[in-house]
């Protein structure tokens, strides 16, 4: 908000200057702003901070919309996302602008004065010299990236982002309003959803309008429709209205349903490449039942990539149910709104049906508590403002049962586990799903997974955060999960080395209202005790599961290495003993000191070199061997041949009809795709 505010102020006087120069600020006209205008000016609120982040957020919003859409009709999601780089010249020709060569070089920001060039060349030469020197010495050094030439604004690239899904699709007539009007949406209401504010796709459109001026293209078809709606539109920011270029019905030959959205925006792939890929990967972890195809296309072919995140399961979490408000989470405005919207006549029914956890007798008791001017049969609409305040106060003070977590749709332990295994291939993994808990009247569920080892995992803690089943990538440091994992978990007590092991920590929190901190909906604060303790206990539960496995592993390793570990010390031990014996034998021979009986016998054997260091070592080695054998036998009888329970594997169904060639056998059939 602050950033937006400061941005706004320098703009205003500029406008003022052009129209009426030097007007005192008091006389400024009272202006109104449309929601679209507000978000255009404060686009950082929605995660559109800079071109790179805009590209990332656009991808993210489109993917999340697609998932929500497919899940709402219980269809296993297939999401195809394509980012196509458009060079400036190509972009210009697209919008019908003639490419202009630079005439006055000094006009541009990246113009290099002769002085600067001499400096740069000298620096580069020096760098090369150093590198050559290092190479000669066989030293490995980091590649010096050639000194970056300042990138002017003119050089940021443009990208066509396309997202295609197999979701619900949109009704033909609603499409313009769904994209062309900020703060209009289908996801309002008390329900666990990925998106919330009805901003995502619209913000992408606003950004495309701000950066490229090109409209958005939407194709959509609903199940059973024999046509595809195609719509090309942009948004009238000042009026917060869609501006339709083309809106027509096209043939639907493939009986496809879903939506395809295409938007051309300014972005920065180089700086946000890794973020986008991380996002896709983590999304694949938390939604293993979806299939993602991610493509990047550009003119330079070596940058191109196609990544397919395959589906690993067809078990989908249930669709979250819309729930009623919990009395302790409502505010005055909300009560008034509910009163206006309710179909119930009297106060008793209103309380009973518009809120969760208020039964009939409970409602009657509450009404009795409100005071003499309330009665169960009174008309809800006749409540005065003061009376509503009284209801609100009572809601705040009275005790209610906690809301149940039934309306939530957590990823599920099974899915979380699969996702982790699929994307990280860890050596060990443990997952835990907590029971529903409550924060300020909103139920939440914390699920956690902890993995050890795996590919592409760095040493130490790797934290993956999910809120309502979307990955959180930014502002990790202040997040409740990070803080808990770093500060409140005693890893060593679970035989996990916090800095040496590859630890993956996955925490997914779902709720009807995630208490995000900051403007960007990127992290959950560490100051909510209910959530912090739920996160801690979920992670600890995973660690407890892991600990037994780790201990078993350590034991097995000890078994294997015992003989080696023991034998390693034989020379040291026998050397020490033999040295003392030798000294004693010498003093025995020189008669400095007298030994008798067995001792004398032993010492004379030492002086006669009948007993040497090697004899001792040999005997000790024999003993070690024997002990090792006994212990191995004991271990084997103790542990038996117990094995880990096997897990089901998911074999993907074939997508199309194939021609098969069958090899039949009384017991089984081989079917080869021919």
């Amino acid at each position: 908000m602050e950033i937006g505010g400061s941005k706004e102020s320098p703009e205003k006087p500029k406008k003022g200057k052009s129209k009426t120069p030097r007007k005192p600020p008091k006389d400024s006209v009272l202006k109104q702003k449309s929601p679209a205008e507000f978000f255009a000016e404060n686009k950082n609120i929605a995660g559109f901070d800079n071109p790179g982040k805009c590209l990332y957020t656009t991808v993210r919003e489109l993917v999340e919309n697609s998932l929500d859409s497919a899940e709402s009709i219980s269809e296993l999601p297939v999401v195809e996302i394509t980012i196509e780089e458009i060079e400036k010249s190509k972009f210009n020709s697209m919008i019908g602008l003639v490419n202009r060569e630079r005439v006055d070089e000094e006009l541009y920001d990246d113009y290099e004065s002769t002085k600067a060039r001499v400096k740069r060349l000298a620096k580069e030469a020096k760098n090369q010299e150093v590198q050559a020197k290092n190479a000669a010495h066989g030293k490995k050094t980091k590649e010096h990236t050639p000194t970056k030439v300042l990138k002017g604004r003119g050089e940021t690239s443009f990208y066509r982002v396309t997202c295609k899904d197999n979701g619900r699709g949109m009704p033909h007539d609603d499409i313009p309003n769904m994209f062309g009007r900020v703060l209009s949406g289908t996801k309002y209401g008390l329900k666990q959803t990925r998106g919330k504010f009805g901003l995502g796709a619209k913000m992408a459109l606003i950004w495309s309008k701000m950066s490229t001026g090109l409209p958005i293209e939407i194709s959509s078809s609903m199940k059973g429709q024999n046509y595809i709606s195609f719509c090309r539109l942009d948004i009238d920011i000042h009026r917060n209205m869609p501006h339709i270029h083309l809106h027509e019905k096209q043939q639907n030959k493939e009986r496809w349903h879903g939506a395809e959205i295409q938007v051309i925006i300014e972005g920065n792939w180089t700086t946000y490449r890794s973020k986008i890929l991380h996002y896709m990967r983590q999304m694949a972890v938390i939604t293993p039942y979806a299939q993602f195809i991610f493509k990047f296309i550009s003119d330079t072919s070596d940058k191109n990539m196609t990544i397919k995140f395959a589906r690993r399961t067809d078990v989908m979490p249930p669709v979250p149910i819309e729930t009623k408000h919990h009395p302790s989470s409502v505010d005055l405005l909300l009560i008034k709104r509910l009163r206006a919207e309710t179909s119930k006549q009297n106060l008793l029914q209103f309380l009973q049906h518009e809120f969760v956890n208020i039964g009939k007798s409970h409602a009657e008791r509450l009404i009795g508590e409100m005071g003499p001017d309330f009665s169960p049969k009174m008309d809800v609409k006749s409540l005065t403002d003061q009376q509503i305040v009284r209801i609100h106060q009572l809601f705040r003070q009275a005790k209610f049962d906690d809301p149940s977590g039934e309306c939530l749709s957590p990823a599920g332990e099974y899915n979380l586990r699969l996702g982790i295994i699929k994307e990280l291939h860890p050596e060990l993994v443990a997952t835990h799903s907590g029971s529903a808990q409550v924060f300020e009247g909103h139920p939440f569920i914390v699920e956690a997974g902890v993995s050890l080892g795996g590919k592409d995992v760095k040493l130490g803690l790797n934290i993956f955060r999910f809120a309502n089943r979307i990955p959180l990538l930014f502002e990790q440091g202040a997040d409740v999960v990070t803080r808990t994992a770093i500060k409140r978990i005693n890893w060593s007590s679970y035989k996990i080395n916090q800095s040496q092991d590859k630890i993956g920590i996955f925490v997914s929190i779902v709720s009807t209202k995630i208490p995000f901190k900051g403007t960007g909906k990127e992290y959950i604060g560490d100051d909510i005790n209910e959530i912090a303790s739920a996160v801690k206990s979920a992670i600890q539960q995973c660690c407890i599961q892991l600990k037994t496995k780790i201990v078993k592993k350590i034991q097995a390793r000890e078994q294997q290495e015992r003989k080696r570990n023991l034998s390693k010390y034989i020379p040291n031990a026998t050397g020490a003993v033999y040295d003392v014996l030798k000294e004693m034998a010498q003093s025995h021979v020189s008669k400095k000191k007298r030994f008798e009986g067995e001792d004398a016998e032993l010492l004379s054997k030492v002086s006669a070199r009948l007993i040497t260091k090697d004899t001792l070592s040999e005997k000790l080695a024999q003993h070690v061997e024997q002990v090792d054998y006994e212990m191995a036998l004991e271990y084997a009888t103790q542990s038996g041949v117990s094995e880990e329970p096997r897990e089901n594997i998911f074999i993907q169904a074939l997508e199309m009809n194939h021609q098969f060639m069958d090899f039949t056998n009384p017991i089984f059939v081989f079917r080869l795709i021919s």
Binding site: L566, Y569, N572, A573, V580, E583, M584, H623
Partner: protein, 420 residues
């Protein structure tokens, strides 16, 4: 210059009070000296009574104590042990050491003796076991090295010992720990193994003693004082005209007192081990106490660690409890800085530190310890510390001037006989 300043200060009356609070309560030095004289003689009378030993008590649990052994007896003990091991190996049974356990469960505080002693539990250290193979190998190696020292009759430091086989020992703490095990196992003091620790403690003041035959006058050792010799058997012929021994926790306070020649104003011996006391300092303090029969007053920080250090001097550490008879000095008085002094001497808020959670925990643990419980005054002070959750170092007194410690605080404490 300094003397001039002092004189001028004394001539001003009102300002002086503000700068050095409580100074006006100080009586002339002669009066304080008289008080000290009576205290000193009464305590020397008390300490003439025979000190108890373990054998005097009939304890239900048997306890282990070590004694000073001659080099030859150490040598022959090692030799018989090695012979036993060699036979065991040759008969194909491997070998193992039977080492007295020095864990805290095997420690016992004996109130009659006012020190910690070691109970008789032993742990077996077999070679053919993954968890003890390292330790038993190190034990064998240390035994061999000690055997060499005995034959050659020389002293080495713990560091020397460590460097003879760095590859095996890996870390000096490991060889040090096994060294204690060995002396415990052989039943002798660590000094009888001819292994010494580097010099750490220093002493200054009214003390004359002989170090390896050289007479040392600790009033003529300059400002730094005399380093306490690492092996106590070199020390002898102690003479002193001091009235008490002042034990100081911190080097900084020690330097202040030494430079101000505090021991000339009030005849005393000042000792510090600069933090946790080493064996040599503890042996030295005990020797002074026993031979000179002087009372010992301790000046430590007002935090749980100060009291802990005090307890190590007084009752011994758990690590070295097998030799507590030689290492502990009974009847040490807690002079300061005590938690109640913070308010009594109006130490300003900015010089006090809040106790950390760890501090508070240590404080509460200390309250459970027997050696604290036996002294009601200490319990009271410690409870106050844990309650106020404030700690202060000796240096907090410097807020009233660097010399406040030696010019006002200590004299006043001595005058009021304010020790516990």
């Amino acid at each position: 210059m300094a003397a001039e300043k002092k004189k001028r200060r004394r001539s001003e009356d009102d300002d002086d009070d503000a700068a050095l609070p409580f100074k006006n309560r100080l009586k002339p030095d002669s009066v304080i000296l008289q008080i000290l004289q009576s205290f000193s003689s009464s305590s020397s009378a008390a300490s003439t009574s025979k000190t108890l030993t373990l054998s005097d008590l009939s304890l239900s649990t048997t306890c282990r104590e070590v004694a000073d052994l001659s080099l030859t007896s150490v040598q022959s003990t090692i030799e018989s042990l090695v012979l036993k091991i060699a036979k065991s190996i040759l008969s194909g049974n491997g070998f193992s050491f039977d080492v007295p356990s020095r864990t805290s469960t095997n420690q016992l505080y004996v109130p009659e003796l006012d020190r910690i002693v070691l109970k008789d539990k032993n742990t077996l250290r077999p070679f053919a076991n993954v968890s003890s193979v390292r330790k038993s190998t190190i034990t064998a190696r240390i035994l061999q090295l000690i055997h060499q020292l005995c034959m050659k009759n020389i002293h080495v430091t713990k560091r020397d010992l460590f460097y003879t086989d760095v590859k095996l020992f890996q870390d000096q703490s490991q060889s040090d720990a096994v060294l204690d095990d060995v002396s415990c196992m052989l039943g002798c003091t660590r000094s009888s193994l001819n292994v010494i620790a580097a010099e750490k403690g220093v002493v200054v003041g009214r003390l004359i003693f002989s170090d390896n035959g050289d007479m040392i006058d600790c009033t003529k050792m300059g400002m730094g004082g005399k380093a306490i010799p690492p092996n106590i058997d070199r020390v002898g012929d102690m003479q002193s005209d001091a009235m008490f021994i002042l034990l100081v926790e911190k080097d900084a306070a020690y330097i202040r007192l030494a430079e101000d020649r505090f021991y000339n104003r009030f005849p005393c011996i000042i000792v510090t081990a600069k933090g946790q006391p080493d064996v040599a300092t503890r042996l030295f303090l005990r020797k002074m106490k026993v031979e000179l029969k002087l009372p010992v007053l301790a000046l430590v920080d007002s935090d749980p660690y100060g009291l802990k250090i005090l307890s190590v001097y007084g009752c011994g550490s758990k690590n070295m409890s097998y030799d507590s008879a030689n290492l502990t000095t009974p009847d040490i008085k807690w002079l300061g800085v005590r938690p109640s002094d913070l308010d009594k001497y109006k130490i300003p808020e900015q010089c006090r530190l809040p106790m950390t959670e760890q501090d508070i925990k240590t404080g509460k643990d200390l309250l459970e310890e027997d050696f604290v419980k036996k002294n009601p005054g200490w319990v009271e002070e410690l409870t106050l510390m844990v309650k106020t959750k404030q700690k202060a170092e000796i240096q907090a007194l410097s807020t009233f001037g660097f010399q406040y410690l030696s010019e006002v605080y200590l004299p006043l404490k001595l005058q009021q006989k304010d020790w516990l």
